[in-house]
């Protein structure tokens, strides 16, 4: 016990020093690379010795020869590896962990994602910096905001992470996920309203659902609530969707973080709403999603990360499945130098009439110029060799004259940006399931592809969802 405690203290001290120096703008590139090289050697030795999967995967690899510039000699870790290997991925036992989490399991078997204290500390600290900046940008120093945490608690890191951050920042947090059987929308909305909650961490879909539920109760999101900032995660949120959310709530919309249960928080928001990659926590690589070939870091490609914390589940060259663009702004301060833009998930890309589109491109085409929309759904159809789109947008209580021009404009966007014709429908009320996207998957929640015949897991989920849509 004492040894473990000492190891944790030593790590917190070393990581804290590097991370705080990074945040203050005092870390040089040489210092950063020394830290990363040191951590990489430690992590590789750790996984080789303790993880059954990596013992096989890295058998015969002389770790001493691997450095930051020779990572490509190591094999990738894929999502399929996680699903097949399950507990064999771990570099330790569940008893070594501080928390037990899982992936959500809606796109295949849920995989175990335990975290130890070191992993949790390193991941949370970077996100804490982001929350600090957003709080400072949105609230006067004498006003300590209240943070509403509206996401899953059970076997999911979301609530634990944010509760810890709020505690460290000295602000009050309220766990009030409406999906919890002990909360529901009545209680959640009462808490938001009565406590005058200032900041809400949740998913974009949940922001729309909250507004919808508020309207059902005769409440106006702008007039009757005090939310000044939404910290979003779990789901795609393009600038177009963010503008729509802002039109409903009158609050600032932040894409608060990018990460996953299995890889932790990889990047977090800046006060000007860009994503900052956590340089001290990972080795970042960009690869061609089809060939796996390593690309220059400033090219668009699939993000591959290697965790630099020797915890329970460090992943080596983990293919995230997300297409990103890493931008080097050339800023002298490393903390401000790089930006990460998540373009879309590889599996969320959609081919329309022979051209591939990312989820972001599709969402942007549908949501451009749209305000006061409480949800959307896209149905892709195919007839006589031509793909087409049916776009359903929940636009309640909108005057008919306004609706007609909006529908015309969305139809024109679909045609010009997505190269296909479509039917746009402004509906009063979409199914509840559509806005669950953040906690399942964008493609599963918002997209019904009638061309697919259960070809992949996403389609399977979509098929199930379609059933549920019509039988709820």
């Amino acid at each position: 016990m004492y040894e473990k405690s000492r190891e944790i203290d030593l790590f917190k001290s070393a990581f804290g020093e590097i991370a705080n120096s990074y945040r203050r703008g005092g870390l040089t590139l040489a210092q950063l690379n020394d830290w990363k090289a040191h951590q990489l050697r430690q992590v590789l030795a750790h996984v080789q010795a303790r993880s059954p999967f990596y013992a096989r995967q890295l058998a015969g690899v002389d770790i001493g020869t691997i450095g930051l510039n020779t990572m490509s000699r190591l094999p990738f870790t894929t999502k399929d590896d996680l699903r097949i290997q399950m507990g064999n991925m771990l570099s330790g036992t569940y008893r070594d962990a501080a928390f037990y989490y899982e992936t959500t399991g809606t796109t295949g078997p849920a995989t175990p994602c335990p975290r130890d204290v070191k992993e949790s500390f390193a991941s949370n600290l970077q996100l804490r910096f982001a929350y600090e900046d957003v709080v400072a940008a949105n609230f006067p120093a004498q006003h300590a905001p209240i943070l509403g945490i509206l996401g899953p608690s059970e076997v999911h890191s979301f609530s634990d992470t944010l509760e810890e951050i709020a505690k460290d920042l000295g602000i009050c947090s309220v766990k009030a996920w409406p999906g919890s059987p002990v909360i529901g929308f009545d209680k959640c909305l009462s808490l938001l309203k009565d406590l005058q909650i200032d900041m809400v961490a949740t998913s974009p879909g949940q922001v729309m659902t909250l507004a919808k539920e508020a309207r059902r109760r005769g409440l106006d999101p702008k007039r009757d609530f005090s939310v000044k900032a939404f910290m979003l995660s779990g789901e795609l949120c393009t600038p177009e969707l963010a503008a729509n959310l802002k039109s409903i709530w009158g609050a600032e919309i932040y894409n608060s973080l990018y990460g996953s249960q299995e890889a932790f928080v990889i990047a977090s928001t800046t006060a000007d709403n860009t994503l900052r990659p956590h340089l001290t926590n990972y080795v970042f690589e960009i690869v061609d999603p089809k060939t796996g070939e390593v690309l220059d870091n400033d090219q668009i490609g699939e993000l591959v990360v290697t965790n630099l914390v020797a915890g329970v589940k460090p992943l080596i060259r983990y293919r995230t499945g997300d297409v990103v663009r890493m931008t080097d702004t050339g800023h002298a301060d490393l903390y401000r130098r790089y930006r990460l833009e998540v373009v879309g998930r590889v599996k969320d890309s959609v081919t329309l009439n022979g051209v591939d589109y990312t989820a972001a491109q599709i969402e942007a085409a549908i949501m451009s110029g749209v305000t006061q929309c409480y949800g959307y759904q896209i149905i892709i159809t195919h007839k006589n060799g031509e793909d087409a789109i049916i776009a359903k947008l929940e636009l309640p209580g909108r005057p008919e004259s306004e609706l007609r021009s909006l529908v015309d404009s969305i139809g024109a966007n679909i045609s010009s940006r997505l190269g296909c014709s479509g039917t746009v429908m402004g509906v009063e009320d979409l199914s509840e399931h559509v806005n669950l996207g953040g906690w399942i998957k964008w493609k599963a929640a918002r997209l019904i592809d009638t061309r697919e015949a259960q070809e992949d897991e996403g389609a399977g989920v979509t098929g199930d969802l379609l059933k549920r849509l019509n039988t709820a």
Binding site: I379, T381, H382, K383, N384, E386, A388, I390, K392, E400, S401, L403, R404, V407, D408, G411, S421, G422, T423, V424, M425, G426, V427, E428, D429, L430, S431, I448, T450, L466, K467, L469, N470, T471, A472
Partner: protein
């Protein structure tokens, strides 16, 4: 009597009532369509379903399904001219039902006219078509539709015929 139309959300109690009338009065898979269950799920998910309300009570409804996506009966049974596939701003009028106790009243026509108006605003629809029973042609003609074809033989049920009507919005 105050007559209004409202969208019915799939899965709601009003939708279940409307669906029960559909099944009772029109029947399940009345044209013996292949892949009927899958198509019906898609039609329900992708259509406007308008409820007819008399003094606030649901008394009937109609489903309006976008054309050109392979979802409609006319497309599934290849009964429509090929050139119509690109008419994605036209809607197919189907599953038109009213409760027995209000039959013979003005609800049928009023509900249809109000539904056409509402859907036109919500979709920028250019018009409507219906592949219907010949006995319904006079009803559609009373709302301004024209008969395009009669005696269209149903390929899946011997002896069953459809009439094809079209209403262009100006």
């Amino acid at each position: 009597m105050n007559i209004e139309v409202r969208q019915i959300t799939v899965g709601s109690s009003h939708w279940r009532q409307y669906k029960a009338w559909r099944d009772q009065y029109i029947g399940v898979n009345p044209s013996d369509e292949p892949q009927y269950e899958r198509l019906e799920d898609l039609r329900d998910a992708c259509s406007f379903q308008m409820g007819f309300y008399a003094d606030g009570a649901l008394v009937g409804g109609v489903r309006l399904t976008p054309l050109g996506h392979g979802l409609t009966l006319g497309e599934s049974l290849s009964l429509l001219p090929a050139s119509w596939q690109s008419m994605r701003r036209y809607f197919d009028v189907n599953r038109l039902v009213v409760a027995e106790q209000v039959r013979g009243s003005s609800i049928f026509l009023a509900g249809l006219i109000k539904s056409f108006s509402s859907v036109a605003a919500r979709s920028a629809a250019k018009g409507y078509i219906a592949l219907c029973s010949p006995k319904l042609v006079p009803v559609y003609e009373r709302v301004g539709a024209t008969l395009l074809a009669d005696e269209l033989a149903c390929p899946t049920i011997k002896g069953k015929v459809f009439s094809l009507i079209k209403l262009d919005l100006t």
